[in-house]
C-alpha cells in the first residue's frame, strides 16, 4: 500500500515536473525583449489584443497586414504613413513580411485557417486567389463595397471584374503588373543597337548573339534567362502575349504543351542556353545559384527578365553599378502576333474573413489601394487605381534612380497601362500542371531530351492529370 502511494506520487511528480517545465514558458510574449533596433517603427504594437474594438477611448485596433515585399521596400513606409494619419481614429497597422514561396504561403494560410494573426494580406497570383476565395480564406467584399459605394470598376476599370472569383469580389487589386525585358542600355549603345520597341524571337536571338562576348569568368552573356526560380514564368510571359491569359491551357481538360507558340518559346530558351550559348544554361543557373542581381547588375549579362528587378536597380548601396537600365517588351514569335499584353492586376489585397477587425481592415485596404501606395511605387510597384496621377507615379517610380533608369522606356513598358491584358481564367490543378512542366523543361534544358520529346511527355502527363476525376 505504502509502495503504491509512492508510485502514484512518482507519477504525479513526473507530470508536475512536466507541467512545471511547461509552465515557466507559458508567457513567452512578456519575455520577449523589445526590439530596440530599427525596422519596425510601429510602437503601439505587441500586446494589443485583436478583439479590441475601435470604440471610444480604448486601445487602438492593431491590424496585421501580411505581404511578400520586404518591409523596407515600401510597405513599412506606407504603414507608417497610415499610422500617422489614423492615430486619432484608433486604427494602427503592423506589416509582416512572408516570403512568397511554398513555405511562406503555407505559413500564411495556416494562419488564415486558424483565424489568428492576419487581418489583411496580399495574394500574388490569380490561381492562388481562386484557391483562397473558395477555401474561405478571403472575405467576400460585396457587402462592404455596397455599404460604402466603393465600386471597384470605378477605380480599376472593367478589368477588376476579371479578377472576381465566381462572380464575386474577394480582393482589391492594388498593383498594375506589367512585364518587360530589362536591358543594359550602355551595352546596347556600345553595340549600336536601339532599344527595341517590337521584336520577334529571331531578332531577339540575334541581338543576344551580338551582345555576347568573352570567355570563362569574363564572359558577358547577351541574355540571362533566370531559370532558377520558376521555369514556368519564362514561357508564361512569352506565350501569354500571343495566346492570352492561360498559357498553360487550351481548355479545362487540355494542356497547351503541344501548341506551336509554346513549342517555339521553349525552343527559343533552349537554343539560347544550349546552342547559341547567349544565356547561362539552366545547369549553370542552378548549380551556381546565379541571380539576376549577380548577373545583370554586375554587367555579366546585357539583358534579363523583369521588371521585378527595379528594387535592386535602385539599391545602389548593395548593388553598385553605373549603367543605364532600359526596358523592352518581351519578344513575340512572329510579327503581328502581339495579341495581348501580359500582366494585368496583381497584389490582390484580401481580408481574412476570420479577422476580428474587418471594418478597420477594409478602411486600410481602401486607403492603401487609392492613396497609400506611393512608397511602394518607389519600390517598383505601379498602382492599379486611377486615383493616382500618372506623373506622380512615374516620378516616384524612378525617384533616386534618375541616372540609372531610362525614363522613356520605363514609362512606356512598365507604367502606361495597356488595354489588352492577358487575363487568366483557368486554374484547374495548376500546381500539378506547373510541376509537370517544370520537370520536363528542366530535363530538356539540361540536354537529356529534345524539345519535342519533352513537351510531348509534358502534354501526356498534364492531360492525364486534368482528366483525372
Amino acid at each position: 500500500m505504502k509502495k503504491m502511494k509512492r508510485f502514484a506520487s512518482l507519477g504525479m511528480a513526473a507530470i508536475m515536473t512536466m507541467s512545471a517545465l511547461a509552465g515557466c514558458q507559458s508567457a513567452p510574449k512578456e519575455t520577449q525583449p523589445a526590439s530596440a533596433e530599427g525596422g519596425s517603427t510601429t510602437a503601439t504594437t505587441e500586446a494589443a489584443a485583436p478583439e479590441t474594438k475601435k470604440e471610444t477611448g480604448g486601445e487602438p485596433v492593431v491590424l496585421r497586414m501580411w505581404g511578400g515585399v520586404p518591409a523596407e521596400a515600401g510597405p513599412q513606409e506606407a504603414c507608417d504613413n497610415f499610422n500617422e494619419l489614423y492615430k486619432d481614429k484608433g486604427i494602427q497597422v503592423e506589416y509582416e513580411r512572408f516570403v512568397n514561396d511554398d513555405t511562406g504561403n503555407l505559413k500564411l494560410e495556416t494562419n488564415l485557417l486558424s483565424g489568428t494573426g492576419v487581418d489583411l494580406y496580399m495574394t500574388y497570383t490569380p490561381s492562388v486567389l481562386t484557391k483562397r476565395a473558395e477555401g474561405n480564406m478571403a472575405l467576400d467584399l460585396t457587402e462592404l463595397i455596397e455599404r460604402d459605394g466603393f465600386e471597384l470598376t470605378q477605380y480599376f476599370g472593367s478589368m477588376a471584374e476579371s479578377f472576381y472569383i465566381n462572380g464575386l469580389p474577394y480582393s482589391i487589386p492594388t498593383k498594375l503588373d506589367q512585364y518587360g525585358i530589362v536591358l543594359n542600355k550602355d551595352m546596347f549603345d556600345a553595340a549600336g543597337i536601339e532599344v527595341p520597341t517590337e521584336w520577334t524571337y529571331d531578332e531577339f536571338r540575334e541581338i543576344a548573339k551580338k551582345l555576347t562576348h568573352g570567355e570563362g569568368q569574363d564572359k558577358v552573356y547577351g541574355m540571362f534567362w533566370n531559370s532558377q526560380q520558376d521555369l514556368c514564368y519564362l514561357f508564361d510571359y512569352l506565350v501569354a502575349q500571343t495566346n492570352g491569359g492561360d498559357p498553360l491551357y487550351v481548355s479545362e481538360t487540355e494542356s497547351s504543351f503541344a501548341d506551336p507558340v509554346v513549342l517555339k518559346s521553349v525552343e527559343l530558351l533552349n537554343n539560347m542556353m544550349n546552342v547559341d550559348k547567349t544565356s547561362p544554361t539552366h545547369t549553370d543557373s542552378v548549380t551556381q545559384k546565379l541571380s539576376q542581381e549577380g548577373m545583370f547588375l554586375t554587367g555579366k549579362s546585357a539583358m534579363t527578365v523583369g521588371p521585378w528587378m527595379v528594387r535592386s536597380i535602385k539599391d545602389t548601396a548593395n548593388y553598385p553599378h553605373d549603367f543605364m537600365t532600359a526596358f523592352a517588351p518581351y519578344p513575340v514569335v512572329e510579327e503581328g502576333q502581339r495579341n495581348f499584353t501580359q500582366g494585368g492586376y496583381g497584389d490582390h489585397l484580401c481580408i481574412n474573413p476570420k479577422s476580428q477587425n474587418v471594418d478597420a481592415a477594409w478602411e486600410f485596404a481602401k486607403w492603401y489601394a487609392t492613396e497609400g501606395m506611393l512608397p511602394v511605387v518607389a519600390g517598383g510597384r505601379v498602382p492599379a487605381s486611377n486615383t493616382y496621377e500618372a506623373s506622380e507615379v512615374t516620378e516616384a517610380f524612378v525617384k533616386g534612380a534618375e541616372e540609372y533608369l531610362d525614363l522613356e522606356s520605363t514609362q512606356r513598358v512598365l507604367i502606361t497601362p495597356a488595354d489588352n491584358y492577358a487575363v487568366p481564367s483557368i486554374t484547374k490543378r495548376i500546381a500539378e500542371v506547373k510541376k509537370v512542366a517544370v520537370e520536363e523543361l528542366e530535363t530538356i534544358f539540361i540536354g537529356q531530351q529534345s524539345v519535342e520529346e519533352g513537351m510531348a511527355k509534358a502534354k501526356t502527363r498534364a492531360d492525364e492529370i486534368l482528366n483525372k476525376e
Binding site: 500500500m1 509502495k3 502514484a8 513526473a14 511554398d102 545547369t283 542552378v286 500546381a431 539540361i446 537529356q448
Partner: protein
C-alpha cells in the same frame, strides 16, 4: 479502511506505467491523436484550405491512385536508393572509426570533434554550404578536378548525380552522430573479457569481430533503425538544395508528400501516402526487430 492488496504483477504493472506515463501522454497528444486524424483524412479528398470537416469520404481511392502516380512511384524508388546507399555506409564507417580512434589514434578528442561537427550543424546552413561546395567553383568540384577528372559532373544540376551528391552529404553529416554513439558504447566494453582474449593470444582483427562487433550489436541495431528511418524521411536538404529536381531525380517520398499537401493542397492523398511510408518503415523495423534475435548477441 479495508486492506486492499494488489497482486505482485499488478504492482509491477503500476510501477511500469508510472515510469512511462509522461512519455505516453506526450506521445498520445502529439503523435497518436494527429496520427488518427491523418488516418481518417487519408480516406477523404480533403483539401486543407476547405477547413476541417469539409471533406468527402472516398474509400480507398487514394491508396489505389498512388500506384498509378508516376510521382509517387519514382519518389519511392529514389527514397529506397537513398536509404540503401546511406545507411550501411554511415553505420559501418562510424563503427570502424569509433574503434580505430579509440585504440589507435592520438588526439582522439579533436578528431571526434571534427567528425561530429557536421551533425551538430544546422541543416539549413549545411545545405546552403553544400550547394556552394558542389558548384563548379566550389571546393568539392575543384577536388574532383584535382584528382584528375577533367569534366566533373554538374552535381546538383545533373539527373544522374544529384541524388548521390545528396547521399554523400547525408553520410557526411550523419557519421559523427553514429560515431559518437559507438564511442559512448565502447566505454562500456568489459575490459576483463578483452584481457582474457589477450591471454588467449587473439589478434586485434579477431577481437574486433569476435568481441567488439557482437558487444556493440545492440548499438548497431539502434543505429541501423534510426539511420534508416531518418534517411527515409529526408526532407530539408531536398527542399533547400534541389526541390526534387532536376526533373524528378531527387523527388523523395517525404518531399512529394509535402508537395501534395502544401502545393497541391491534396491533404487526403498526402495522408494516404504518408501511411504507406509508415507501413514500409514499420515493416522494415519489425523485420529487423525479429531478425535481431538472431544476430544481436548481447
Amino acid at each position: 479502511m479495508k486492506k486492499f492488496k494488489l497482486s505482485k504483477q499488478a504492482k509491477i504493472d503500476l510501477t511500469g506505467y508510472a515510469f512511462i506515463l509522461p512519455n505516453i501522454i506526450g506521445v498520445c497528444l502529439f503523435t497518436l491523436i494527429p496520427m488518427i486524424f491523418s488516418l481518417i483524412i487519408s480516406f477523404t479528398d480533403w483539401d486543407y484550405t476547405q477547413g476541417i470537416g469539409n471533406w468527402n469520404f472516398v474509400g480507398i481511392k487514394n491508396f489505389i491512385e498512388m500506384w498509378q502516380d508516376e510521382w509517387f512511384t519514382s519518389s519511392l524508388i529514389n527514397t529506397i536508393v537513398f536509404a540503401v546507399g546511406v545507411v550501411p555506409v554511415t553505420v559501418f564507417l562510424a563503427l570502424i572509426l569509433a574503434v580505430v580512434i579509440d585504440k589507435y589514434c592520438f588526439a582522439k578528442l579533436p578528431i571526434r570533434l571534427a567528425l561530429f561537427m557536421p551533425y551538430i550543424s544546422n541543416v539549413v546552413a549545411v545545405a546552403i554550404v553544400w550547394v556552394m561546395m558542389y558548384s563548379p567553383w566550389g571546393p568539392f568540384t575543384q577536388l574532383v578536378k584535382a584528382l584528375g577528372v577533367e569534366n566533373p559532373p554538374q552535381w546538383l544540376g545533373s539527373t544522374t548525380w544529384a541524388l548521390p551528391a545528396l547521399m554523400l552529404m547525408t553520410v557526411w553529416s550523419g557519421v559523427g552522430y553514429a560515431n559518437m554513439i559507438y564511442t559512448s558504447a565502447l566505454q562500456g566494453l568489459p575490459g576483463d573479457v578483452y584481457e582474457a582474449a589477450d591471454i588467449d593470444g587473439a589478434n586485434e582483427i579477431t577481437k574486433f569481430f569476435k568481441l567488439t562487433v557482437p558487444f556493440l550489436s545492440p548499438t548497431t541495431f539502434f543505429l541501423i533503425i534510426t539511420t534508416f528511418i531518418t534517411s527515409f524521411q529526408i526532407f530539408a536538404p531536398i527542399q533547400i538544395m534541389t526541390r526534387g529536381g532536376p526533373g524528378t531525380s531527387t523527388n523523395v517520398l517525404v518531399y512529394y508528400i509535402y508537395t501534395s499537401a502544401f502545393t497541391f493542397y491534396r491533404m487526403g492523398y498526402a495522408s494516404a501516402m504518408s501511411w504507406i511510408l509508415f507501413i514500409i518503415l514499420f515493416g522494415i523495423t519489425m523485420f529487423q526487430w525479429y531478425g535481431q534475435k538472431k544476430w544481436v548477441s548481447y
